[in-house]
Symmetry: C2
């Protein structure tokens, strides 16, 4: 098949007829398939059940983890995160089960109390944040909750468009940026060393500019040949920007999505301000869960080994989807997609103006996708083009079907568009 744009009207109508036949066959199967969220599957969750198999220990360096106190997390857990992320233990706070909470609470802190002595953001009605797009919907939800205006910054193949960022940060009302620097959600792109350096070197007009470095997939490679991300905390001091970045991560996709642990990494000054708030907000996060995690793994190396088991489950799932995309959409000139080396998503860009229709067709045939538009602030993809595919949860045989339906839907939607 040649590129759709080169086909005549008659050829397109013929192709449409064939596709509709296939689509109806899928529909007749009465399927209910879900590729909407980056949820680990049962087999992945089973990998960490050993955490509960041995006698439960509850003492960490003399601390009874069952009792009150130890606001910044237990020593063994802080050390494990520090080792994994290549930072000092003193710059780590071990957190609750969701890094989302760490991000929400940090933005809330900036909103209510400001950043290190600067005016609280709540006094400024024109606060803006930069959002590399497509991006993670839950980042946008946080910003929207605090009425922070979101500015789209396009993603290039090595990270966000730095030229645009450098322009935007001349505005003192631009107070920050959300990044998923490794295996970006959803594009799967990892920021190049050069981009990380450029980010570390930024000189924003706002002294209280904060980059939320959501390193959600820091260790989530699909094989041994994973992307390497430059540690931004190694570079920040060169530019006197030690305080500019707040990093978060979690074990939601390492152990349990609903019962893992998280961490926040920041400069001494930022950690001190966060601790000041935490001292009002909690007595400690769940230290027994922290200890179960640090005992189950022991070392950063063991976490990396553990991630290979996840990769063995996930890689075939990515492969089956990519095979469908290549075989069925390759060469048609109606779609582009990434081939990520890790993370949880495949990002598919279809012909402009068609993504919404693809979502509708998929739904009609029993496949739930992430709501089209969700990867953009305000749920509005300006090109109506991006589709986020989340292959982790369904079994391979379901993915096989779902990806087939997705490809037929993409082709149908694009032909409809071309036929006008």
């Amino acid at each position: 098949m040649s590129e759709y744009t080169k086909l005549t009207k008659e050829e397109l109508l013929k192709e449409k007829e064939l596709l509709l036949k296939k689509f109806d066959e899928y529909k007749a199967m009465g399927l209910s398939l879900d590729m909407s969220r980056g949820k680990p599957c049962k087999e992945q969750l089973d990998l960490s059940m050993g955490m509960f198999s041995s006698d439960i220990d509850y003492i960490d360096e003399g601390i009874d983890t069952r009792n009150y106190g130890i606001l910044d997390g237990i020593p063994s857990c802080k050390k494990l995160f520090a080792e994994l992320l290549g930072v000092e233990t003193k710059n780590v706070i071990a957190g609750p089960n969701a890094s989302l909470t760490l991000m929400f609470d940090y933005i809330c802190q900036c909103f209510a109390h400001g950043v290190l002595g600067e005016e609280a953001w709540r006094y400024n009605d024109s606060i803006k944040f930069l959002c590399p797009v497509p991006g993670y919907d839950r980042h946008f939800t946080i910003l929207d909750y605090f009425d922070i205006e979101m500015i789209n910054v396009p993603m290039n193949e090595n990270g966000p468009d730095m030229a645009q960022i450098k322009e935007y940060i001349k505005d003192p009302n631009v107070k920050g940026m959300f990044c998923v620097p490794k295996y970006s959600n959803p594009s799967g792109i990892t920021y190049s060393d050069e981009v990380v350096r450029e980010i570390a070197a930024l000189k924003p007009a706002a002294k209280d500019f904060r980059i939320i470095w959501d390193n959600a997939y820091f260790i989530h490679d699909l094989d041994d040949n994973g992307d390497k991300l430059l540690n931004i905390f190694d570079v920040l001091p060169e530019y006197g920007n030690d305080d500019m970045v707040i990093e978060v991560c979690s074990t939601s996709k390492i152990t349990f999505s609903g019962a893992g642990i998280s961490a926040i990494v920041a400069s001494d000054a930022n950690i001190a301000q966060i601790m000041g708030r935490l001292n009002c907000q909690t007595i400690s996060y769940d230290k027994m869960n922290q200890l179960r995690h640090s005992r189950f793994f022991g070392t950063a190396e063991a976490v990396k080994e553990h991630m290979k088991k996840h990769a063995a489950i996930l890689k075939p799932k990515f492969e089956i989807v990519l095979k469908h995309l290549e075989n069925e959409l390759g060469g048609l000139g109606v779609a582009n997609w990434g081939n990520p080396k890790g993370g949880y998503f495949i990002s598919l860009d279809v012909m402009e103006g068609c993504a919404q229709r693809v979502g509708e067709l998929c739904k009609e045939a029993g496949v739930t996708l992430t709501p089209v538009g969700a990867t953009y602030p305000y749920g509005k993809d300006p090109k109506n083009s991006n589709i986020r595919i989340a292959p982790s949860f369904p079994p391979v045989e379901e993915l096989d079907l779902a990806a087939g339906i997705l490809c037929v839907s993409v082709k149908l939607a694009c032909i409809e568009k071309l036929l006008g």
Copy 2:
């Protein structure tokens, strides 16, 4: 010994000499005893270790608790809290390990976004809260963090002074009140049915007046003869005040202080607003921990039985302290104290102007008390009189010594004061 105020100067000096001798004996022991925080002791924490002894189940009514989702908590856990608190399941959100977080986050929500459509508190520089005193220092810390002015309301033997409260709430800037309605921290007082009804019937000028009903000790009786608290949610509808109360509780002093679960109870409208925020703040609280708890107990009745084991550990600790107070301070006219039927504290009021000095003397002899003043907003006890005794953590033999030192310190401080 007769009342100190009736002694002559010579008699006081003689008594002081005897006390100093005893005090020096204690000091020479080089003790380090801690009665400062309401922490469960090791034996109490051991009571719940059975939670980990059986095979770990992770499915609750078809929900895999290890995965994302279920923002309001798993069904079995919500039901358990609903049964314990006598409310409907739909009005319960099962929360994180600390109810403090639920309270902080709720006040923060009122501050940033307001209450059910009313103007956010952050736009008003004159927000005030009523604080029954003595009270819980961590409530005051939350209010102080959000620059909310705190107004002392004295506690009577059946609850806070309702006449004063009714006066204060005529001011529309008075936006709420923190209460520990059962076994108040630190007085041990339980609000009478009449007081609960009066609170439920309040008609504050502020439509967004919110009572944080911190039911921390709702089931924490020292024996079978515990206080009964009227369920305020049964009474609120009679006065059209369904939305006025936000109740919280936790298992911090039932299972694990650092790894328990909490709950927030509120009207449909309040729950809906809280869920709207939670949807931005987290993906769920720790559902595996929720399930461990609901499986370990099964029924509300089992929780009550479990609390008898706590009582068996705690009661002798309260008794030894009370014995010292009665034997050594009784009849001297320099101190009053409560005899609580539950909770975690004994509240001791010494002669006005003497509490600070008692704290200093205790410290000198190796006993750490809750910082004097901490039971009042801004850390300022206007009468410099209240001392919070926390007998739960130290072993009985240590309490025996600590209470002895406390009594000598009280007597010395009061004599110093009388001698001028």
